[in-house]
Symmetry: C2
Subunit: 307 residues, 2 copies
């Protein structure tokens, strides 16, 4: 097990062609110190999300290998799909998982941006933690106008790329690269079929309407199950922990006389987010990962092997 782990989830603008998707996956797999955990193609979006983890150096090499593999294969001039996009490799998020600070992920994203431009002449925008320009933090604002709109957008002095010249790569467009916290997709299902309850609670907990800063939330119907759902993205579980969000939803649901039926984690969750849940509810006076047998064993083995 590596001491330092970074996650990277590049989105490429191809969701149907198996040869391209396989080439992308093979490129990542070929790199040492990287594990490709998931490949999730979406034909309707015409987009594939690759989830990799690895050492910072491994991830850097793997992203460059991904460009090498897909740039000859994806031509945005012929690309159609439901999801907005501006690049063949559309976005490259870099996420600290273990033993790596956010600043190191920012530095990694900056190295990547420079390398991508110098090797492939794809202009780079830095977003989220990797930019100090407020308008560039939000990926959606960078991507607005999409591939087709970028020749026009690049005439605007406010939208000059962070790395590279103001010239869209003819087939590969531009890429956004950025460091961000791990995003947890977390849903709370309510024991009612009243959609208004889910919508009101979503409004109460999401940052944009007065709730928790790092919560994005929507109220949805689960019509086949006669339940409604508060569907959320928790964009910073360190500052807005799962337990706080769940307890707030329980308390808001109680105002409507509604119970929480169950919750769901969609995809992956960092160990630290689950640790926090256990600590909060037990009220533990102190906690160290070394208290957990399996983690203690792992560390002992790593030290033994001199890693």
């Amino acid at each position: 097990m590596w001491e330092r782990i970074v996650e990277c989830v590049p989105n490429i603008s191809e969701g149907g062609d198996h040869a391209t998707i396989d080439a992308a996956a093979a490129a990542v797999r070929s790199v040492a110190e990287v594990c490709l955990l998931d490949v999730d193609p979406d034909p309707a979006h015409n987009r594939t999300v690759l989830t990799m983890v690895g050492t910072p150096d491994g991830v850097e090499r793997a992203v460059l290998a991904l460009y090498e593999a897909v740039l000859p294969r994806i031509d945005l001039r012929k690309h159609q799909g439901e999801h907005p996009r501006m690049g063949a490799v559309d976005v490259v998020p870099v996420i600290p998982i273990r033993g790596v600070r956010m600043e190191e992920c920012v530095a990694l994203s900056h190295r990547l941006g420079n390398e991508i431009w110098s090797r492939y002449e794809v202009p780079i925008y830095f977003y989220e933690e990797s930019t100090s320009t407020p308008e560039r933090r939000d990926l959606a604002r960078i991507r607005k106008g999409e591939f087709e709109g970028f020749p026009e957008k690049l005439r605007d002095p406010r939208w000059q790329p962070d790395v590279g010249e103001a010239a869209v790569h003819p087939s590969a467009g531009v890429t956004a690269v950025g460091a961000r916290e791990f995003l947890i997709a977390f849903n709370v299902n309510l024991a009612t079929d009243d959609l208004r309850v889910a919508k009101e609670i979503a409004k109460a907990v999401r940052g944009s309407s007065g709730g928790f800063r790092y919560v994005k939330a929507l109220g949805l119907e689960l019509s086949d199950r006669r339940m409604v759902q508060v569907s959320m993205n928790l964009t910073n579980f360190k500052k807005t922990p799962i337990s706080r969000v769940v307890e707030c939803i329980r308390s808001e649901a109680a105002r409507h006389g509604v119970n929480v039926a169950e919750t769901e984690i969609v995809g992956l969750v960092p160990q630290g987010a689950l640790d926090e849940v256990a600590l909060y509810y037990l009220g533990l006076a102190s906690f160290s990962p070394d208290m957990v047998v399996e983690r203690r064993v792992q560390r002992a083995l790593a030290e033994e092997s001199g890693a």
Copy 2:
């Protein structure tokens, strides 16, 4: 990381002599596929607890290496200490941690017992999950009378050893070997200085007086902190989970108008016990260890290395 992990916490009857304790630790460390996680000498008890984890085979070799190292160095005829004891290696508990069923730990304990007798002529008693004799499940009943009482005890047909002849080893006594579940030392501190509250709650939750089957509990005073404590051993967290015990204590404390101030895990806790806490309080509809990034990475790396 090993796919199959067993924990073993032999207790040896020496708590002060560094040469003996160091020899014991070195013996365990010398064995492949074993990590010695902790050595905890208690001079007042004149007893040392060694905590090791490893593959089943590794642990078997390490326990035999421990006998080889300490038997020439510990003579129970000269041993004094506060803790009851009957053997130079007093007790050898074997605990399933990962990828190992309880029955496999029972089989391992039986192999160990036979090997210890045949190599060192120390008679063996099997306890907890390793015995089918009700009176032998409880270690305290086996140990009753201690080293000095065993010549007498061995005349009783009900107390013949499970392996070996009815003759105490002159300097090393007898050993109890047994498979058991992981024991979690868990304390709940109450925001009151009224010891009666802690004693009543301990009585309510412990199995022996009507509480949860796998809870042992005592009420104690933390006089320096003006709190009282329900001090517990949870002897089977799979059947009596931490969350259920905490919620029961909260509810009993409320009857006395008292709050839970904090809780403590003393020593190690298995990952599964903390997972259960998170699942219970979040009300997750489903959970798999593969949802946790770090564990997913670990498994991917293990598969890659062909482990």
